[in-house]
Symmetry: D2
Subunit: 345 residues, 4 copies
């Protein structure tokens, strides 16, 4: 009844998923862990009731006591572990990115399509956020008419020292890329990046903020403001403009305080606070599906599209020009008909 | 075409009305002023283009260059000037209270009824506030069903040194008394005052806060929280609970600011900021009516009811018991059939 | 590692807790169920992976495969099962009420105190609601000064046919009683109930709405508006008024929609939607504590206080008078020093 | 004491300003009117206490009983009347546009500069809106850090049949152009227009919506969403993103209503409702200044800049390319040092 999960990569994000599977969600336990730092893997395993530390990802994937795999290692290693999981016929949850290049993603698509069924879920957790789900439900209901524009705002109070300007596209805006595809149920066909004057509170080497603009195949227009040193909070904004109405994310504060001439509420401190429930829901839904040998949620196709769009975004940021995005033809495996957060639906 | 207005009492509130009539609203000018301090009257007149200073209120009321009168003097003098204005057949705007005792108010009612037409408007400016008007319109529309309760909150950041505990009823809650009658279109039949632990930031001699509860003739229940040293702002709250919905006053901030982990807006600093537009509208509507020799807005009856209810409230605050309120039979003159803020409508 | 839970009473609420323990929270499973309708118990057990149906509550409590007990049966049976659980030395989660009379509650207090440690948690789930927790944190922070008043609003769209007027106190306002004690960290010393005109949409036999007013030992004043046929939604309001500021529950909508001349958001449909996460958190925290043989959260003392206050409330509703509330001296076992939702803290 | 105002053009907007000057604001009256339809001018004059109808604008401007002029005629006639007013040494309020071409605006600048003082105020009423003023005050206070981006939203429920696609720039976005210059206290240096899929509810010949993007001289980036058939309401959105915080326009509803599962408030029906107070304040401030023979508010320079930017916007909409904007050197007359809504300050 209980799903045995092996985790590849037990850094901060991997350990957080281990905590979630162990103490928060229902139906799974950690049976094995591995890490590039084997001592760290052993230390993490020692704190868990039923987990062993293994030397390599391949060993973990092949272990008969591992039913399903979580890939939370360094991005460039994702392709290898996802391909190995598919080859082993096991369900795999892969943190974003699915892989770091278009070609690597396409190898995963080829491998998965060859098996005739989905094996991969990509960690785009915003699709599990209640607010984005309510947004999508509002759009689908027809209450605001057909969507024409999506204004997205992605604001970080600050970024760590190792953050580089390409990360504003690949690590920050990648979430807006995915959520735009999710909300508008459509593919992105072009990218453009405008850059205002730099925030003087950002490190010298950073481009911050940016306005990342993309067009959807159906003609809707998306603008993403990414501000990565905005100090005040971690603030995720979003508004979809329809033909006859709009829907936007509400503020997330639980109480309103009045003092000192002001009324107001909190804004989230960081992405953990803002999206912690989305991560919980994401894993609960993955465990339920994986326990039945099925996939759910964002697919390899979604991971592929995000990687391709971000590459175009980087090119657009460098050139200042509009860059076209082209995807291969979508395999039937990823054409979703049912409702729910599966695929781009 | 221009209404010549004489002002009795040129203290802070009187001077504010002079400023309003001179510089803000249309259709009137100050033609005469008087004050218990004649030097002050002269000084005020000297700054006005067309005003003379007169020695007494009676002289001002009788002056042929005075078409209509504003009474902004000390409360105990109101009866005399209002009666004299009625006797002179002139329209009079009287700041609250209409008069300080039930008996004085009844003398005014008798005098006005004897003339067969309204001459008096009482300065309950909340009836001219856009938010209260929208509340009343919502109730009248039937959108929330018949009103059953009204929760009112009246919060002052602090009060001046001369403020005494009876003023929390007579000067503070009197506005809630009037607005409850206005919103619910009904008379108050009983009063009760509950007192929680005293706010330690209030002066020793004050009762603060209080919960002033009254029942309406039709059975609706009203609770008024009056907090007069709440520091944070001047905050007027109100919610009417109907059989199938509610309507409440919105916050009044014009912009939302996000900084330092918070989002929010201003609350008004004092009653001037909160109700300045209501005062402007009140005077504009009075000038239009008075120019035609007519009255509008809160009547002598409304001033009478407020004085009687506040007397009951004071008695209830002292005794801790429920006190019944009884009004004389309402003269036809004050039975309103038309729409608008006239009478209790 | 996994806590084996036995459930007494598998009606609607019992089955919901079984679903929660089985599919939502971590660390427990259902090992036994019983019900006054044994066929129903068997049917429920049949759908669970590891549960047996037992004939009686006593049999379930004594079963060695039951580590901890959930009491979700009819209120009058609670005393028996809670006492038996204490006697068996097992942790018990008891849905409210702890017991239906003061005397029954006192027998539980006596039995629990005799063991020298807590065994009982009472199901006042609002203490686990994020918004109420944020309210309490705000009060504790000192940001709004010492609390003086608590305005609570408890609104049901409608009530089932079997609902009787005493339930507005015992089943509806009981939550406000507990949450007032929780937020203000104080005991209730008197109760009073005022009743406006009846909502014409309520059944003839119901008193609806009511204003339930109580005083705290420290002098704070609480007013609870309970409206049980208000149609529009299930709406829980709350505002604590401090000496220098206020804190109130925010709206709970996730998105704001603009259409047809309006902007706005949803209000919850029913208590399940509003408090589902609070129930989840409540059980997760109980499972963690019970797995260590400890209690957490609302205690027998809290259950006792709620029962006594509600009895006074009913008496006050009938008499229209103020009714004093007196509790026995609080045993040391329930005097809380640590932070957290334990006891009345 | 009273300013005698002559009005050129008594169509809908002209008549509204006549109503405002006559019945709302203080200190002015209409002494003369003229219109291309002389019968209309006579009819309007007949309803006013002190106004005569004149045959031509020139005659009105020259009339000794006209102290100051309001130009509310057809846009292409503005240049002639503004130049004549300057030549007559009289203050003139000119509805936007100041003039329809760059060259015409420059002729006005030349004429006004030659007189050595300002004579012209242009009707950009948003600068008098309380919300925009609060926004500007927030920016100026430094609370949100230096401004980097301005997201503006300009939404009309629908447009009249004669509306053409160039009007989305010249008549709709012109206000956002001016308010961006006002808020950011800077000039626009480039324009770009992106067009998503057309709103199917718009007439076939319209481009709707558009995303009008411009860069400021200091590097701030502005994006204006203009949606002119969005059905739900007239909704003006705006958010300035600073280096450490943001400020945005609040909703304008006065009350919050809860019914039918929703809570919410009104959005304005049209521009009259949204900006009626701004128009009142604009005229009151103009009358005060003009009575002293002085100018205030948006200047000829602001009118010139708006016309030049809109011309670039139209070119950008046609070409799909970025278009540079260049203004002549700013005359000292328009270099503002004092605070207030004068010039671009």
């Amino acid at each position: 009844m209980t799903l045995n999960v092996g985790v590849i990569g037990v850094g901060m994000i991997g350990q957080d998923h281990i905590r979630r599977i162990t103490h928060v969600v229902s139906g799974a336990r950690i049976s094995a862990v591995t890490d590039v730092d084997f001592d760290r893997a052993k230390a993490v395993a020692a704190d868990l009731p039923a987990a062993k530390a293994l030397q390599t990802g391949q060993e973990l994937i092949d272990d008969p006591e591992v039913d399903a795999i979580v890939v939370a290692s360094w991005g460039p290693t994702h392709e290898e572990y996802v391909l190995a999981s598919i080859a082993a016929g096991k369900q795999v949850f892969c943190e974003k990115p699915l892989a770091t290049t278009r070609e690597a993603c396409e190898r995963i698509l080829d491998a998965e399509v060859a098996t005739g069924k989905r094996h991969v879920m990509v960690g785009f957790m915003r699709r599990y956020d209640e607010a984005y789900r309510a947004m999508k439900a509002t759009i689908t209901s027809g209450d605001i008419g057909a969507p024409l524009m999506f204004h997205s705002g992605h604001r970080n109070p600050n970024v760590p020292p190792h953050y580089t300007s390409d990360m504003i596209i690949n690590d920050t805006c990648v979430h807006d890329v995915d959520v735009a595809r999710f909300l508008l149920d459509d593919e992105i066909v072009s990218a453009r990046v405008l850059t205002p004057r730099k925030n003087s509170l950002a490190s010298d080497h950073l481009t911050d903020p940016v306005l990342f603009i993309f067009e959807m195949a159906g003609g809707a227009l998306v603008d993403v403001e990414a501000s990565i040193n905005i100090q005040y909070a971690y603030d995720i904004r979003g508004e979809v403009v329809g033909e006859s109405g709009t829907v936007e994310l509400a503020e997330t504060n639980k109480v309103v305080v009045k003092k000192g001439g002001q009324w107001g509420g909190r804004v989230a401190e960081d992405w953990r606070e803002r999206f912690i429930r989305a991560y919980d829901t994401e894993f609960q839904e993955w465990i339920v599906a994986a326990s039945k040998g099925e996939s759910t949620g964002p697919s390899s196709w979604d991971g592929y599209a995000a990687t391709v769009v971000c590459a175009a975004g980087l090119q657009a940021m460098e050139s200042g020009e509009r860059v076209e995005v082209s995807l291969r033809e979508q395999p039937d495996l990823y054409k979703v008909t049912a409702q729910g957060p599966t695929g781009t639906d």
